[in-house]
């Protein structure tokens, strides 16, 4: 018999007391490497722990992402918190319970199979004798490694998991209580701001440091190569000093290789590394093709555009050097490893605590701000420095979601069946996360590291492996039953703008393209878009979400448009292995183009916190509407021009439609993440609805008024 395989993160963090501890007050503290950023992961993980330990949810405290306390689970990303993080935690808690029960059985002199646990109290069925977790020597008992030999509770016995639990952080947030990194206060705290170059690669030619140092309240001006920052007693003094420093600094800018209008031609013409993602061949089927269609789609650079600019608090203590950071990073362990490496400190001398931040939706400025705060704090040892980026720091310097070009081609046979399908995509890699790409020289992803007088080389562009769902080619393959399918990813070597992970990565553009093209094929086949999809889809869970979304939206097969209103559908199974989702969008062209209603159906297997899943799905739909209708980062051959909410408009209440989400709960199936499913299907549904209303198709995102007018030609 082979040894059981431990879940990924339990295998790398085996001690049970690294995951669960019992406190003196009759509660338990759960430690997770996952962090909360508004997606509700922490509440759902608390549910999982309460379930396995037979505790009430109120008895569970939970701490996420702390290099002094919690397990290292890498980054909280990719909709993997329930799947990977939940599985590790579930297994650890089940084993902790079993260890404690074995000891309880010995003390109660009862067979362990007869024991029941309620709110942490352990006893036989008659409850004549009881002992609790807290009566046992839990510290000693849990100071052991997991074996993986204990089976977690079967789903049909769940009482906490699968029921909507109110998010634990909401009451404090609506009361306006200090919650976020930027709300922290420490004695003697100073305020910092950074002074970024006007564009990437710009070099600082001259700077009147003395003039800035003389401004009221300024405690330090930090210049290290092309990195500039100010530290002041009061926040408004730091902001004023930053403003003055911007005026006092002269830079030489290298320029950009392309502007926003030329980006898609640039991607196609660029030198690329090509990878065949999938190739399924059936020459006999291909030969039946009678109608061939092709199309090309475009997606611009999109910003995470968090509503709060990134912030961090850091305190540097000298002799020996040690730095402590409070950050809204998605991965405190990778962050401290990289900072330690850049500064030449032992990893143990860099400590990071996760504190809530504004929503991030991927790799934004959070980590960069943490390192900026460290560099500023180093200049004023012993005094904490609160750093917050200004709005334009975030827009101009956060790693963006990459621009993409997607081309599709397919053939239909005489029966209107797809017999051949090819999708080609052009993009930069979608991840610049710390540690993503190994090199034989030290590399860094943190912005300021590239600007120091002794710079650390920038990490080469990276892309998640297909085994983990892929990055640029994520959902490039379609789930439909096709005899021939080929997907080729063309990775563009030159990197015009800094990019990294943004919610769903390549899946947003790939699903928009593939699902738009499905409608184009349905139209060529003279078939209804829903029926056409079902005809090519045998997976019952996939069919179920499409049917549910169509029914709930009142889909009328083959309904013609009145020239003003339209409806469209979009479908995908995220990463082709995660959540299923179908979206129906309804649009109107009068008085202006707007989305009036969105109806979605999702299946994420076991829904741990059903309302949490629905909340994430509604949010993902509306965020995707914003990307699809409004968003594109503007840049010219000099620099990024989107620097505030006027130059990077997003959807406002005026454009928000009625949103209705139907959850198909499957308690017998493993739980899958919810956060990223909606982006592609929503975009495609809107594009298809617009094409239905208009009679012509807009294939470049965003679907702006100018593009619609141009398409109507």
């Amino acid at each position: 018999m082979t040894a059981p395989v431990l879940p990924l993160w339990l295998n790398t963090n085996r001690r049970l007391d690294r995951w669960v501890r019992f406190d003196e007050d009759g509660r338990a503290t759960i430690l997770t490497g996952r962090v909360e950023y508004g997606q509700g992961a922490i509440t759902a993980l608390a549910q999982i722990a309460a379930e396995e330990l037979d505790l009430d949810l109120e008895q569970v405290r939970i701490i996420g992402g702390d290099t002094e306390l919690t397990p290292d689970e890498g980054h909280t990303s990719g909709s993997r918190s329930m799947d990977e993080g939940g599985t590790a935690l579930r297994t650890a808690c089940a084993e902790a319970r079993a260890v404690l029960l074995a000891e309880a059985a010995r003390r109660l002199d009862l067979p362990v199979e007869r024991l029941q646990v309620e709110q942490g109290r352990i006893g036989g069925a008659d409850r004549t004798r009881e002992i609790s977790y807290w009566d046992l020597p839990h510290r000693e008992l849990l100071a052991r490694e997991a074996t993986g030999l204990v089976q977690p509770k079967p789903a049909n016995r769940y009482t906490v998991v699968g029921r909507s639990a109110p998010r634990r952080d909401i009451p404090g947030k609506v009361a306006g209580r200090p919650t976020f990194v930027a709300d922290l206060v420490q004695p003697g705290m100073l305020h910092g701001r950074v002074v970024r170059p006007p564009s990437e690669g710009a070099r600082l030619l001259s700077f009147d440091e003395a003039a800035i140092r003389a401004l009221p309240g300024v405690v330090a001006v930090v210049r290290d190569g092309d990195f500039l920052g100010v530290v002041a007693e009061r926040e408004e003094q730091a902001v004023r000093a930053r403003r003055a420093a911007i005026a006092a600094a002269h830079w030489q800018e290298p320029g950009l290789p392309v502007d926003a209008d030329g980006i898609h031609a640039f991607l196609e013409a660029a030198q690329t590394t090509d990878t065949v993602i999938v190739e399924r061949r059936d020459e006999a089927a291909r030969a039946r093709g009678v109608t061939r269609l092709q199309a090309q789609y475009g997606k611009p650079y999109i910003a995470h555009a968090s509503i709060g600019p990134s912030s961090a608090l850091a305190r540097w203590d000298a002799n020996p050097d040690r730095v402590e950071i409070w950050t809204h990073s998605q991965g405190v362990y990778p962050l401290v490893r990289e900072i330690a490496q850049i500064l030449g400190l032992p990893t143990a001398s860099v400590v990071a605590h996760h504190v809530d931040g504004p929503g991030c939706y991927g790799h934004n400025g959070a980590d960069d701000a943490a390192f900026d705060a460290v560099l500023l704090a180093r200049a004023v040892p012993g005094r904490p420095v609160m750093l917050q980026w200004m709005r334009d720091d975030e827009f101009a310097w956060e790693p963006l979601g990459p621009a993409m070009r997607v081309k599709t081609a397919a053939s239909l046979d005489a029966d209107g069946r797809i017999v051949d399908w090819q999708l080609d995509l052009w993009s930069n890699g979608h991840s610049q996360r710390s540690g993503m790409v190994k090199t034989d020289y030290p590399n860094a992803t943190l912005l300021a590291a590239w600007h120091l007088a002794q710079p650390v080389a920038r990490m080469p562009q990276g892309d998640p492996l297909m085994a983990g769902g892929g990055g640029m080619a994520r959902n490039g393959e379609v789930l439909y039953d096709l005899p021939n399918q080929k997907v080729v990813a063309h990775r563009v070597e030159e990197l015009p703008l800094r990019v990294s992970t943004l919610r769903a990565l390549g899946a947003y553009a790939n699903v928009f393209a593939a699902e738009s093209f499905m409608d184009e094929l349905a139209q060529a086949a003279g078939e209804d878009p829903v029926a056409f999809r079902l005809k090519h889809l045998s997976d019952p869970r996939a069919r179920a979400v499409i049917e549910r979304a169509a029914d709930a939206s009142g889909w009328v097969p083959n309904a013609p448009s009145d020239g003003i209103r339209g409806r469209g559908i979009g479908f995908a199974r995220y990463k082709n292995g995660y959540g299923y989702m179908a979206v129906v969008a309804q649009v109107t062209l009068e008085p202006d183009f707007r989305v009036t209603r969105v109806v979605a159906a999702i299946d994420v297997g076991l829904a741990i916190n059903p309302d949490g899943i629905i909340n994430q799905t509604e949010g993902g739909i509306i965020q995707s509407l914003s990307w699809t209708l409004c968003e594109a980062v503007r840049f010219d051959r000099e620099r990024i021009l989107s620097r505030d909410w006027e130059t990077y408009p997003i959807l406002t209440f005026a454009g928000v439609p009625e949103v209705e989400v139907h959850l198909i709960n499957r308690p017998e199936e493993p739980p899958l993440g919810g956060g990223e499913n909606p982006t592609g299907p929503t975009a495609a549904a809107v594009g298809n609805a617009l094409a239905h209303a208009l009679g012509v198709r807009v294939r470049d995102l965003p679907l702006t008024r100018e593009r619609i007018v141009a398409a109507m030609g």
């Binding site: 950023y37 508004g38 997606q39 509700g40 109110p166 998010r167 952080d169 909401i170 009451p171 947030k173 609506v174 009361a175 306006g176 209580r177 200090p178 919650t179 976020f180 930027a182 709300d183 206060v185 009221p216 309240g217 009061r234 926040e235 408004e236 902001v239 555009a305 968090s306 509503i307 709060g308 600019p309 809530d356 931040g357 504004p358 929503g359 939706y361 917050q388 200004m390 709005r391 909340n615 994430q616 509604e618 949010g619 993902g620 739909i621 509306i622 965020q623 509407l625 914003s626 505030d644 909410w645 006027e646 997003i650 959807l651 406002t652 209440f653 005026a654 928000v656 009625e658 949103v659």
Partner: protein, 161 residues
């Protein structure tokens, strides 16, 4: 620093006197001098509404309201809505509808809605959308925010606000 004039105004019913440069944005005074962290820095440009507070009952952006402009006036922040410790009707409706994702924009949303409901306790959906048009949310919580405000109106939160 001692050269700075004093500014007197009311915050959540209590008189406050602060000394700072007169053009200091009210937001920094509230957050750093008075320890009221509910209003957030979002853009510093009056574009996003994350810092919305009430100034003599009107919703304003604290990030571009200079200190000198509040002399003798009355400011209400999100902390002032639950001064007795209990959430007010509108805040409770946000909890009941779980109308929060990251929560960074939420205090501003609640303050803009409070200003509206004090004026129009029976505000229509259209009036609600118009009142929130300059409050941005990036998580896409809009649909829930609208439902929460609708619930508060239905439950009469505006009458007691």
């Amino acid at each position: 620093m001692s050269d700075n004039p004093s500014t007197r105004f009311h915050v959540n019913g209590a008189e406050q006197t602060v000394s700072a440069e007169p053009d200091t944005p009210l937001l920094y005074i509230l957050r750093n001098d008075l320890g009221l962290k509910g209003a957030k820095f979002g853009c510093g440009l009056g574009q996003c509404g994350a810092c919305t507070v009430l100034l003599d009952g009107h919703a304003v952006n604290a990030c571009d309201t200079p200190l000198w402009a509040v002399e003798g006036k009355s400011v209400t922040t999100i902390e002032g809505l639950s001064a007795e410790g209990a959430l007010d009707g509108l805040q409770q409706a946000f909890v009941d509808e779980q109308a929060v994702q990251c929560g960074y924009c939420i205090p501003g949303m609640i303050m803009s809605a409070t200003a509206l409901l004090r004026r129009e306790p029976q505000a229509t959906g259209e009036q609600v959308r118009a009142a929130l048009e300059r409050n941005l949310c990036r998580c896409g919580t809009h649909a829930r925010i609208l439902r929460a405000i609708e619930r508060a109106i239905h439950e009469g939160a505006g009458r007691t606000a």
